[in-house]
């Protein structure tokens, strides 16, 4: 007997997970929107951020939600440096090279983590880790509720950066008309690096939101990033609202798919959505049409 309340709790669960997916996807779509490449190192950077959040808790006793305020700028700097000093110079302004360099970074980071921390899975234990709120028909973990709210706060901050600051305006100028922006005195290499930094900072915050009910492991980020690819494709490459809505949709689809078909087939469902959207409507459901 399938009660609508069980379905509803699966949907709520999906929305909670989906919000974090959306944040990972936000970073990816931001980078795509400006640099026009898919950052294949995104998942490895997420794994690295999960370890950073774990270490901050283990070595410094920092609560992950506090650590987020330190890790976000740190990963912004890391992302900035990677684009400015590694990806940019190495790719000779060729899209295909850029793809390969981000792939090389992914392999390097992921296996660097494996080399340093081995394949073990690490978790943080927080006093409020198991606290949850009773909605009457289902329980929602407090930490997941916090991440749900935090994701929208981050999206709001990003939106404010984009609309109010000069850098944000420059980013949008480069995204729309790179040559024109360059001619009007905007330093494109700097803007690329800032964008990459912002995308990487999103990943750091996502890691801090995830770690209370997730784990750190050298390939932990990959599971998210493949889903994030799907979200970005579904929401339209480069579209921020698309990433948010796409994230929630995919969270719910995965939750319901896992509920009906078991977890690994639920994943196949996501990939099939992904492939179908790519093939039928590569600009995404929310992207601009031809």
């Amino acid at each position: 007997m399938l009660s609508p309340l069980i379905l509803l709790s699966a949907v709520i669960n999906g929305l909670m997970t989906g919000a974090v997916y959306a944040l990972v996807a936000l970073g990816l779509t931001l980078i795509y929107g400006v640099l026009h490449i898919i950052n294949f190192a995104h998942g490895a950077l997420l794994s690295a951020a999960l370890f950073a959040a774990f270490l901050a808790w283990q070595k410094l006793g920092l609560d992950p939600y506090i650590a987020a305020f330190a890790l976000a700028p740190l990963f912004f700097a890391l992302g900035y440096a990677l684009q400015r000093f590694v990806i940019g110079p190495a790719s000779h302004a060729d899209d295909r090279n850029m793809l390969l360099v981000t792939l090389g970074l992914a392999v390097l980071i992921e296996n660097g983590l494996l080399y340093e921390f081995h394949a073990d899975t690490r978790t943080v234990e927080l006093a409020y880790g198991f606290k949850s709120i009773d909605l009457g028909f289902t329980f929602v973990a407090v930490s997941r509720l916090i991440s749900f709210v935090a994701v929208f706060a981050v999206a709001l901050v990003l939106w404010l950066i984009m609309t109010l600051t000069d850098t944000g305006k420059a980013i949008r100028a480069v995204a729309r008309e790179k040559l024109g922006a360059e001619l009007s005195g905007i330093e494109v290499a700097h803007i690329y690096a800032v964008t990459f930094g912002l995308g990487t900072a999103c990943v750091a915050i996502a890691a801090c939101l995830l770690i209370p009910n997730y784990y750190a492991n050298p390939s932990a980020g990959n599971a998210f990033v493949l889903i994030a690819f799907t979200i970005v494709v579904l929401g339209g490459m480069g579209s921020v609202p698309g990433a948010l809505i796409g994230g929630l949709v995919i969270g719910v689809v995965e939750s319901l798919g896992g509920f009906f078909f078991g977890e690994s087939l639920g994943q196949v469902g996501i990939f099939l959505i992904f492939i179908v959207v790519l093939l039928v409507r590569p600009r995404g459901l929310f992207g601009a049409s031809a």
């Binding site: 795509y32 026009h36 490449i37 898919i38 294949f40 590694v86 110079p89 190495a90 790719s91 000779h92 060729d94 899209d95 295909r96 090279n97 793809l99 390969l100 360099v101 792939l103 090389g104 970074l105 992914a106 392999v107 390097l108 980071i109 992921e110 296996n111 660097g112 983590l113 494996l114 080399y115 081995h118 394949a119 050298p218 493949l226 690819f229 494709v233 690994s264 087939l265 994943q267 196949v268 990939f271 099939l272 992904f274 492939i275 790519l278 093939l279 039928v280 590569p282």
Partner: protein, 328 residues
């Protein structure tokens, strides 16, 4: 015929190796290296000559391996037939993925993504489907003999994989000298311009994808016969997608010997690192990642390109000396 002399020389030299090298460890290393070179040459046909960068060549490697294994273990098909069927199956998957992706007009990032996604779907399916042995994988029955494509001697396996690599080298050279190859390279350089000159870009890319998939599938078929085992993480895992693209890029994309040279370098680096620091997981792949970035940064045309440039740089001087010598 002259164009095939370098291939004949290289293959003949490699064929003499087992005559003076009997170490199983070294032969094993060379067998694996040639297998990766074969997978890489498959990638090179599509990525190097055609400019379509696949991040999911595991889809073909794994299909070749699984079809070879399943036909033998579940249907009692002869190993050689299974091997051929594995290659054909890889080509079919290539046709499906290529047909869909190119028909949809996917390029660059999008093409890389969709190939990656296909490989992942196959990996997940193979890890749950009963016919692929789900999470356990498939173990081939030990049955030594030529008929069952299983050899006691590593040297014979070495010669088998060398022969397969030789075929792949010849295919690349034939491609370079054919109209199809000229069209494929034109599509890589500028698809619109190629179409304006009468090139059916879709058909050309699809053809390259099928050849590419078949060659990489052959490496997968060989893997199963050599290790007698396959599971989802090996067959459809991202490691083979990465190694397949790494070898030609390091060696030199769109060149006949790039994948072979790249495989020798990459595998030597990986093994060398293991010798120095012990077998720590992640180390070899870490090095691969770093080498990939460094090669793109400093030798974007790969080692073959770097050598050619050096040769072109030195040649005028050498020619001048030769002329002076002739007159002197």
């Amino acid at each position: 015929m002259k164009a095939f002399v370098p291939i004949a020389v290289v293959v003949a030299m490699l064929a003499t190796v087992p005559a003076f090298l009997h170490s199983n460890v070294v032969l094993n290393f060379l067998v694996v290296t040639l297998m990766i070179a074969l997978a890489g040459q498959g990638w090179n046909i599509l990525g190097g000559y055609g400019g379509q960068y696949s991040f999911g060549h595991a889809a073909f490697f794994g299909t070749g391996a699984y079809v070879t294994a399943i036909l033998q273990m579940r249907y009692g098909v002869n190993a050689w037939l299974g091997f051929a069927a594995g290659i054909a199956a890889g080509a079919v998957i290539g046709a499906i993925v290529g047909g869909l992706a190119f028909r949809a007009g996917l390029r660059s990032s999008y093409f890389a993504l969709v190939t990656l996604a296909f490989a992942e779907v196959l990996r997940i399916l193979a890890s749950v489907a009963p016919i692929t042995g789900a999470g356990v994988g498939i173990l081939l029955k030990l049955d030594l003999g030529t008929r069952s494509f299983q050899f006691q001697s590593r040297a014979i396996f070495y010669l088998v994989i060398l022969a397969l690599v030789a075929v792949a080298l010849v295919i690349a050279r034939l491609l370079e000298r054919s109209r199809f190859g000229a069209w494929l390279i034109a599509v890589r350089e500028n698809e619109d311009a190629a179409m304006a000159l009468g090139v059916d870009a879709f058909a050309v890319k699809l053809g390259a994808m099928i050849i590419s998939a078949a060659i990489t599938a052959a490496a997968g078929c060989f893997y199963v016969q050599y290790f007698l085992f396959i599971d989802a993480g090996i067959g459809y895992g991202s490691w083979i997608s990465i190694e397949a693209l790494l070898t030609p890029i390091i060696g030199g994309t769109g060149t006949v010997f790039g994948a072979l040279l790249g495989a020798l370098v990459v595998k030597s680096l990986g093994e060398g690192a293991k010798l120095i620091t012990g077998d720590i997981p992640g180390l070899d792949l870490m090095i691969y990642g770093a080498v990939l970035i460094l090669v793109i940064r400093f030798a974007p045309r790969g080692l073959v390109g770097a050598v050619t440039d050096a040769y072109d740089y030195l040649r005028p001087a050498a020619q001048k000396r030769a002329v002076e010598a002739a007159h002197g």
